[in-house]
Each structure stands twice: as C-alpha cells, then as structure tokens.
C-alpha cells in the first residue's frame, strides 16, 4: 500500500468513525455526531453559561425526573470534533426516530403540551426555551420526550419568548387545521418543515375561529402582525421592559388552554371501523393470530414494523412477545385510535405512525437528508404485512415485483398474508373498477417473492382463502 492509498484508507476510516448527524446543524451552540456508531453531542464554548445553568438550577434533574427531557452522560472531551467544543455528552438514544408529519392528531397535541410543560418548568428555574421545534420532541417508550439539551438558555428579565412564532407554526396552527378544517392537513408539516406559515393557517381556517380569543390572538392577529412588520428590525429600541414574567406565564397558560381545548373525533373513516367489519369469522381470526404468534415466537424479534397496522391488534401481539413495535398505517383515524389505546394502557413498546406506504416518508430538508426516509430507518428485524398486499397491488396499482423489492429492502424477516382475488375484501376493491390485474395471482405472488426471499413457512388460514407466509431475506440468511 503506497502513501496515497494509506491516506485514502485513513480518510475512509475517519469518514466511517466520525459522522455529524444530518439534522443537527442549525444551532451554533453545538451539534450531534456519531462516532463508531455511538451518538454524541458536542457543546460549544458559546453555550457554556447556559449549560451550566441548566445543570445547576436543577432544571435538568427536574425535567429528566418527570420524563420530559432525554438524559445524558458526560463523555470524554477528546471525542469533540472541533476546537469550539466545551464538552461532549452522550445522550440516551431514542429507539426509533419519527417526525411530526408522521404523527396522528393526539401525538402532535401531546408533543405540544409537553413543550409547554417544559417551558413552564424552565421559567420556574430561571431559564427559557430558545426554540420550540416539533422536531425536538421524539416518542420514546410511548411518551413524548424533548431530545435537545441545547434548547435552554438563561431567561433575561422582561424579554419576550423568541420561539413563540415557532411554537404556533409547528404545533398550534397544524393542530387547528387538523381539527377545524381537515385531519389530512397534518401532512402540510412534510411540505413546511419549519412549520405551517401563520398566514397560510390563518387563510385556511374557517371564520368561526376568529370568534375564539386564543385562536384570534395566536393565529390570526399573529399572522397579521408578522406580515405587517415583516423583518423590520426592532432591536435596540428604547424601552427596557417589554414582556414581564407574568405576561410570559400568561402566554404559556393561554397556549396551553388553546392546545388543550382542541380535539378530533376519529370516526367515520372506513379503517376506523375496520375491525368490526373485516369479514373474518371469529375462528379464522383466532387462527390467523395463532399462526402469526407461532411465527413470531420462532423469530423472537426485538423490533417489528407492523405495516398496515390498523388499530394495532397484531402490534399488541408482537409487543406482548417483547418486541418494540412501529405500527404504521395510512388512516388518521386508525392511527389515532391506536395511539389512544397505547396511552390508555400505558404501553411502552408500541409507536403508532401515520404513513401512506404508497408514498412513504422520503428524505426531506437540507440536501434531502435532514429528515430520514422511512426506508433508511430500517431494515426492521421483522415486518408484518398482514392483509396489506391487495391494497398496494389493487388499491394502489403497484405491481407485485415492486412490492416484493421494497419489502426486501425494509425487512429481514417478513410475515406476509396473501389475499386472493376471490376474497370478499379484494372483491370490494374491484367493485367500481375494471380488473386489470391479471398477474395478481398466488403463483405469481410466490414466484416474485421467492426471487427476493427464502420462504420458511407457508400456512393457509383455515376458514378463509388466504395464506400466511414467513420469509427471510438472503442477507438475513447470510448473517445467520
């Protein structure tokens, strides 16, 4: 190996062992990075005073104690990536990173209330949130938790809350749009990563929202003033006092009331009512559960993605066997019901997410890498795809080879149910359209999937025409 090759090899080694996190570059106080696969956070000298205050004021302990802030451990300072480093910490990793545009209504609402609770506690300890991004909240162990240790700064007497607009654009505006206009408007968060602009929210909201003081103030009047003042500078003006601490408490209280008063009833959609009308007999359903449980029992998975999870019947089955489950569905009502059940039962292992598999979350943000695609957050140890294929193939016109390709990329083990054309549920999909799916047959399904997977087990579901398969990818077999 000559000198050039050695240099190239060294560079490649460094590129692998040091990697800044793609989403951590906006705040000059520090950034996240990976070293040898471990997540660290570098804190810069410019943030020293605030970080010390966070620890000394007792705010850190209080927030971690209440499960509102992710905990961290100190790490060796020589792990720092740049000379600006004051110290390096090692935050507790979050099991699965999800984004606000993948959350159902109540998840976004709970994330908003968590942010406000944190703000209230921060103020009580002489600090304040300097940002209120929805991306600072992650769902860990079934609960929303703040993940950015650098979001706190010392509260300067009588200063306004600089993150107020961000809070309204990331939380209040989208929540109002979802509850007052259409639940699907939550997807606007995928287009507007910095939050739904106040002017847009104000324009889309119905006139009746002008009659509620909190909505008038935080959205409509806010939008009007932001537009009127634009980016006109107000720095260095002559008054020492502008927003008292009491007013800030009032602002947080008003936002809490506004968010807390929002609700959405998850009814009326086809999928919300699915469990009661899915066409299985009780025996067939029990048989399907038994077969799925047996397959899962042989794999003993740690992580399961339940694709097309509906209200989470099979997610709960997998969770009861010790797996962390990501329950993915495209229906807002089904995801909402699933999340409410997770809360009601205080389930720590299930994370319901709202994702349309025909258009799964892509890489978004700066360079298309700031927010990871769903696929790049895999592969999952086990993917459950029960009663899903016919929706993708016939409901979504996705050919079987493409479905098999994608599943082979996101799964190591695949438990998949084939629903034939003769099945009443598939027939429902064909009632209003021409059957152009000549290749949607069981032999074709097996041929296409066997090209990408090895079939471990095939089990017909008694009492139905459906079949359950357990498959593994070639990579999984090689690793084994």
């Amino acid at each position: 190996m000559d000198g050039k090759d050695r240099a190239r090899a060294l560079f490649a080694l460094q590129a692998v062992s040091f990697r800044p996190a793609e989403a951590s570059f906006r705040d000059p106080s520090g950034f996240l990075f990976f070293r040898d696969g471990v997540l660290y956070r570098q804190i810069n000298w410019s943030y020293r005073r605030h970080h010390e205050r966070l620890l000394e004021s007792g705010l850190y302990d209080a927030l971690v104690g209440d499960g509102l802030l992710i905990s961290h451990r100190d790490a060796a300072a020589d792990l720092a990536l740049t000379a600006e480093a004051y110290r390096v910490i090692r935050p507790e990793p979050v099991g699965f990173v999800s984004y606000p545009y993948e959350w159902c209504f109540s998840q976004l609402r709970d994330a908003a209330l968590t942010t406000l609770r944190i703000q209230r506690q921060a103020l009580a300890h002489g600090m304040i949130l300097k940002d209120a991004s929805a991306y600072n909240i992650q769902y860990d162990e079934g609960r929303p938790v703040h993940i950015d240790t650098l979001s706190f700064e010392e509260y300067q007497k009588d200063t306004p809350w600089v993150a107020y607009r961000q809070f309204c654009e990331h939380f209040l505006g989208p929540l109002l749009l979802m509850s007052q206009v259409d639940i699907h408007l939550g997807r606007l968060l995928a287009t507007y990563l910095d939050g739904v602009p106040l002017a847009l929210a104000s324009r889309l909201l119905p006139r009746r929202t002008w009659l509620r003081f909190s909505r008038l103030l935080h959205i409509h009047l806010h939008a009007w003033l932001v537009k009127r003042y634009g980016r006109r500078s107000i720095r260095g003006s002559h008054l020492d006092r502008s927003v008292s601490r009491r007013s800030l408490d009032g602002l947080v209280g008003s936002l809490e009331t506004a968010v807390d008063g929002l609700d959405w009833r998850p009814t009326g959609t086809h999928w919300a009512d699915y469990p009661s009308e899915h066409g299985y007999s009780d025996e067939a359903l029990a048989e399907k559960k038994r077969l799925t449980e047996r397959m899962l029992g042989r794999i003993e998975p740690k992580v399961v993605w339940d694709l097309g999870s509906n209200v989470g019947v099979y997610s709960r089955l997998a969770a009861s066997m010790g797996a962390k489950v990501i329950a993915i569905d495209s229906d807002p009502a089904a995801t909402e019901l699933n999340y409410r059940e997770v809360k009601r039962r205080d389930e720590r292992s299930i994370l319901p997410l709202l994702v349309d598999l025909r258009n799964p979350s892509p890489g978004l943000g700066w360079a298309g890498r700031e927010r990871s695609s769903l696929e790049s957050r895999g592969p999952a140890q086990v993917v459950l795809a029960l009663a899903l294929v016919h929706h993708l193939a016939i409901g979504g016109n996705v050919p079987l080879p493409r479905i098999a390709d994608w599943l082979a990329r996101v799964a190591r083990h695949l438990i998949i149910e084939f629903v034939p054309k003769a099945d009443p549920q598939t027939q429902r999909l064909l009632t209003s359209r021409q059957d152009v799916f000549a290749k949607y047959t069981q032999p074709e399904f097996e041929r296409e999937f066997e090209r990408r997977f090895r079939v471990v087990a095939t089990e017909p579901i008694t009492g139905t025409q459906r079949t359950l398969y357990w498959m593994t990818t070639r990579e999984c077999e090689r690793d084994a």
Binding site: D158, V226, R241, S247, D249
Partner: protein, 124 residues
C-alpha cells in the same frame, strides 16, 4: 399647562415614530421649560379648572396611547431562530391582557377556594 400638553404631544409623536433623537430633544426641551416630573405632579395635584380638566383628560388619553405604543418596541430579541418582529410585537401588545387573564384566573381560584372554606366552616 399648554407647554406640558405640547410636551406630551411631542413625546407621543416621538414614541410613535420611534425617533430617539427627537425624543432626546424633547427631553431637553422639557428640562429647559422646567416641566420636570416633580412640578408636573405638583400641578396635577392642584385644583383644576374646567378648561384645564378637558385638556388634562385629552392629555391623559394621549399619554396612555403613547405608553401603549411605546410598549411596541421591546429591547431584546436574540436567538438562532428568527422570531420575526411581528411575533414580538404581538407578545408585547397582548402582554397586559395575558397577565390580567392570569391574575383573574388565580383570583377566581383563590375566591372559589375561600368561599368553599367559608361554607365548610359554616357547616361545621
């Protein structure tokens, strides 16, 4: 009295326009005319004639407007995110209402608790 009225007008105008230079000039003029806060208070405390009363009422209103408008110019807004001036202005404008609502809420809670305690004592 008229000179004080001019001064109030001048200050209100300066605050509205947010021209600190003019404000400073106005302040100098108030010093040279002898209209200090001490003698202003003295005059306001003295018996007032009807004509002067009307002038005072208008002046008071103007002063209130000036104070309100002056609140629209907070001093600090530093962050790595852009808070946008309009958002700061809203917080300042709504500050009094939000603080008052907080006070009212606390007062209501306190009164409710007190009344409940009184009733419970009465029953005992």
């Amino acid at each position: 009295m008229a000179s004080e009225m001019v001064l109030v007008w001048w200050h209100a105008l300066c605050l509205v326009q947010r021209k600190r230079t003019f404000l400073f000039l106005g302040f100098l003029r108030s010093l040279t005319s002898g209209a200090t806060s001490a003698n202003l208070a003295e005059r306001w405390a003295a018996p007032v004639e009807q004509g002067e009363f009307n002038a005072l009422r208008v002046g008071g209103r103007l002063l209130a407007v000036a104070l309100l408008v002056s609140l629209i110019a907070p001093r600090r807004a530093f962050a790595y995110i852009d808070p946008l001036s309009g958002s700061i202005v809203l917080q300042v404008l709504a500050a009094a209402i939000l603080a008052a609502s907080l006070t009212l809420r606390k007062l209501r809670t306190w009164m409710g608790r007190t009344v409940r305690e009184l009733f419970s004592r009465f029953r005992q």
